[in-house]
Symmetry: C2
Subunit: 301 residues, 2 copies
């Protein structure tokens, strides 16, 4: 009983006869191995990662559980194809709000082909990767009303400016969701403290991840994404919404050779600062929160 996932926000999709991931009804996510070396590199990463004994569970939880690989009927109808068997991170969610954020100011890495380098350097410069150290690759947000839903298409996501990203990360934790990137509608950020804040919220999880990245020198996570997700209905009812941070997409992970992943770490710190700015701002009295940006940032010094 395999089908295309209901809540995929980025990457290749198993629709209209294309090759894409599938899910079953017991919580597994089947990701087709890409035919070139990317597929085998992602398998190699997962296999190495699960074999390492020194990684604490507080870090392991950021990675989808890996159950091996399996040959399955591909979604594009071309016959059997090897798939990674992973944890379906939104299994059981009714209204998961999800954003996929590709981390790093560069997605290329030493040793990549000239073609790949040129493709990446252009994408990085034409997105917010170079300026922010990360870019939003996709998102979906539910609102408080049954019909409220926003899932911008690829073209819109690709055109996000730094200001759009700031707005998107605010709208992501608001009860009011308007479709489109309308700058005149100020998000209420009413769920910010529940989702981003708190001892087990997104900011706390990003801090834990950051601490690991300040020390780990085994892997460089090139072109890897952070998923941020929570269940809208839970959050609207005053619960934390089970906010979770997950790392996904390991087709370009390379050996760290004893050096920390400064590219990922820098981008992660930048994302963390964006999230913490939202929390600072929403915890302020309205009068202060409306101060011009320049003054607010000078305050922090």
């Amino acid at each position: 009983m395999l089908k295309a996932p209901d809540h995929q926000v980025a990457g290749h999709q198993a629709l209209d006869g294309h090759l894409g991931p599938l899910v079953d009804d017991s919580g597994c996510f089947y990701k087709p191995l890409q035919n070139d070396e990317r597929g085998s590199k992602e398998v190699a990463f997962y296999e190495k990662f699960i074999s390492l004994t020194g990684i604490p569970s507080r870090i392991r939880r950021f990675f989808p559980i890996f159950h091996g690989t399996k040959n399955l009927e591909a979604s594009d109808g071309t016959g059997m194809h090897p798939h990674l068997i992973l944890e379906d991170v939104v299994f059981g969610c009714m209204k998961p709000c999800i954003t996929d954020i590709k981390i790093g100011s560069r997605t290329w890495y030493p040793g990549a082909s000239e073609d790949y380098f040129q493709k990446c350097i252009s994408k990085d410069g034409n997105s917010t990767s170079v300026s922010l150290g990360f870019r939003v690759s996709g998102l979906q947000v539910y609102g408080s009303k049954e019909s409220d839903f926003w899932k911008p298409n690829k073209k819109i996501v690709k055109s996000f400016t730094p200001e759009d990203v700031r707005l998107v990360l605010r709208r992501f934790v608001s009860s009011d969701v308007v479709p489109g990137i309308d700058k005149d509608v100020t998000p209420d950020c009413s769920l910010a403290s529940r989702v981003y804040g708190g001892s087990s919220g997104v900011l706390a999880q990003l801090s834990e991840l950051k601490e690991w990245f300040e020390d780990q020198t085994m892997f460089h996570f090139n072109s890897c994404s952070v998923l941020i997700l929570y269940e809208k209905d839970l959050a609207l009812r005053g619960k934390s919404g089970g906010a979770e941070v997950k790392l996904v997409d390991f087709a370009h992970v390379v050996d760290g050779n004893g050096v920390i992943d400064h590219n990922f770490l820098g981008g992660l710190c930048s994302l963390k600062k964006f999230i913490s700015d939202i929390l600072t701002d929403t915890n302020k009295p309205l009068s202060e929160a409306c101060l011009p940006e320049m003054d607010t940032s000078a305050d922090g010094l």
Copy 2:
């Protein structure tokens, strides 16, 4: 009574009729303004930086004191030329060990000219900038004997590999100094705990700087260097050697626009990890310190 500095390790030098910095006998360092916009941008940075009221003194101490600008007879004999008047950070030192480390995996930045971009991307890829997030731009080290001294020329410094950088940062805090990057001579790192360690050592200073960079969103310090310096004779006599970290070269600083400097921060964290690895290693019993790299790094997880 102006003269070329005795202890300059990187950058243009006021020798053989070239334009370069000068020092006087009262602790001032005169840096000629570059003729293009870089000169005026560096002045503008210093002027803005000293005008900011919110920067605590524990951060200000990382920046050379700025005393304004002055027209002086240029070192290249071409007549009067504007100079920045800065603190001479090695004033009064007899045997200053210095290294100039350019921070960031990229030295270019959005908005720079295509020419500058191409020059930078090539230099970054051909040095350790991309792989380590920083590169050594120059150094000088004194040893315990009067004649021991190592100041590799530009060509050698440019050819440093990641392994060379690791060796150089060890030799930088060793009592035995051999000229040349001879991998068969293992540095004793006898001054590591005094210079890199301790509550006011280099690692503690880099941590303080890092904390500021996790929060400050006013400036992006493109192509800026960290100087690490200490006085060899003091360190050899068991003192801390007054180890200091300074930031220099602000000709490519741009407005942070509310975003942290993830490029600088990533490189700074990588340098910090290199320094902390040296401290960890030199504090270990010899038997452990000799374990293969791979095992050592897995230990930390």
